[in-house]
Subunit: 322 residues, 2 copies
């Protein structure tokens, strides 16, 4: 909303809602996933803040008029509301949608750690949806993109041999910071190749031909928020407050897709490792720093915007229709 | 030598030798470090394979005629021989230099794991030089670049609280693969920005806007050789065969300087952490996945070509002169 871009509401199944997005591209991504997956809906609306209300957004052969998020009755008739805005928008308008009976699928971090709110990756934790039903207002949270990509690979292993400790180092694409960051990476790269000083509008660091610590705020314990999301969300997701997790989150000059180096220490020895998820898992090695096959090093890679956000949200919505 | 570039011998202190280099830039880097550090030498020669012999190499205000590595008496009068060629050159000619009384400082991996050969990082392990003395033929090995950068930071911590286990993920610059790889990264980047297919002469992978597993050969245990160097060299360097080490080595599209995410698990709780080495250490966090302050996450960064090779070699030579 800070960019004044139009953003969005949608009605899915019966009706649904797209939360106000920081950038229009988030909504396009949701619309694209909905279209590609042939998600069934009766009507589809786009909502945004009042500044964007009235704007028109064309996607494929349809045109949408953005509706005001704050208008009275904005959520009337909405069954599924996909929020892809910041945490403050979700906190402010999510409960209003729930009060009208909508199931809010929230991509922000606002409700992830709320014990009442399920944190869901459909392929690996359908049971986490619990009693959430269409027509009964509720919030379902999408985990953080780095968490989703890591847990897609680690969760089946956790079920198989119980993870005691996990050490993660990430290689995160600039697109996680938005379309503008991706464009600035291209611009900076061209500038550096031409020997010019790189333009720095988004981050203070140069990202062309450079890596840097993730831009999330650094907390008192020295970890940044992105790292702590991985720690806390993993504990909640696995319903295991004792699991030991540490993470180091780094941005690399890559346009799209996050990669992660994940070291896993297990309670039980491993016999066989299977990888069958959409997140690519490679470099699978028995960790030679741990005895009795009780450790594994893997390298995972996934599209942090698709599986890490939009796709996961639509998959959650699909579960509601089952 | 595969590139037919001239490479090199040098005589340092009394006299010294530069081993045949894969690329001329390695020698320039050594010459630059020698010059910048005002390394005292009586004479300085450059040696290379016979194909390069007779070629002239200008550096600053001097010109060197490259001498034939295989010529009889090539090492006569050489006190310190800095080998910056591949392992095969070091294996073939290193012992010949030693037989003539030279101290060989070898940047290759050829002798690193030899129990008779000290593995030295001058700032952190001067005592590893043992009985090596100028005038008494011997080989001293330079550790692998990723190992040096990691152990510059980890060794003082190890001495302080004893590392039980170390989990490393690297972010390695293309220049580690040579000047040609660095040039190809620039070329590929320009091509990708222009929407063209990237030229791939050095590696099969695209490295512009991409990351990939380190190009070292993958071994039967799934680790690649770069990773195993970190494991084995750390054990030898710390003289601790029980220390648990695992590594994941990744190349990132950065021109120069390696970075590493290092997780350290200690025997004793930590009280205070100091960082005082040339290798930059940041993001220092008590590892919250381990109790009683028995773990640390750090992010280290260093020039893998300077400290990781040429500088370390010259520093070893400097120790010999003391």
């Amino acid at each position: 909303m800070s960019l004044g871009t139009p953003a969005h509401t949608t009605t899915v199944g019966a009706e649904a809602f797209f939360g106000a997005g920081l950038a229009c591209c988030r909504v396009f991504r949701l619309l694209r996933v909905i279209t590609v997956r042939d998600f069934p809906y009766r009507s589809l609306r786009l909502h945004a803040c009042h500044r964007s209300a009235g704007k028109r957004l064309a996607f494929e052969d349809r045109e949408y008029t953005v509706q005001d998020l704050a208008a009275p009755g904005a959520f009337d008739g909405v069954d599924i509301a996909l929020f892809s805005a910041g945490g403050s928008v979700s906190r402010k308008y999510g409960p209003a949608a729930v009060a009208r009976g909508a199931v809010v699928v929230d991509n922000s971090s606002a409700f992830r750690m709320d014990p009442e709110v399920p944190l869901v990756i459909p392929e690996v934790s359908p049971e986490a949806m619990g009693n959430v039903r269409l027509g009964q207002g509720a919030i379902v949270a999408n985990p953080n993109c780095s968490t989703i990509i890591c847990l897609m690979a680690a969760t089946p292993l956790h079920r198989h041999a119980k993870v005691l400790r996990m050490v993660v180092s990430t290689y995160q694409a600039e697109s996680g910071a938005g379309a503008a960051a991706m464009e600035e990476l291209k611009l900076q790269t061209q500038e550096v190749l031409e020997g010019k000083a790189p333009t720095r509008n988004i981050f203070k660091q140069q990202y062309a031909f450079n890596i840097f610590s993730h831009n999330a705020p650094v907390l008192e314990n020295g970890y940044n928020e992105e790292e702590m999301k991985m720690v806390k969300e993993t504990r909640k997701f696995w319903n295991d407050k004792d699991v030991k997790v540490t993470a180091t989150c780094i941005r690399v000059p890559v346009m799209r897709a996050h990669a992660e180096s994940v070291n896993l220490q297990f309670e039980k020895p491993l016999d066989e490792v299977s990888d069958k998820d959409d997140v690519a898992v490679g470099r699978i090695r028995l960790d030679l720093s741990l005895d009795d096959n009780r450790g594994l090093d893997i390298f995972v890679c996934g599209d942090q915007i698709r599986k890490g956000a939009a796709l996961n949200a639509v998959q959650i919505a699909e579960m509601l229709l089952k």
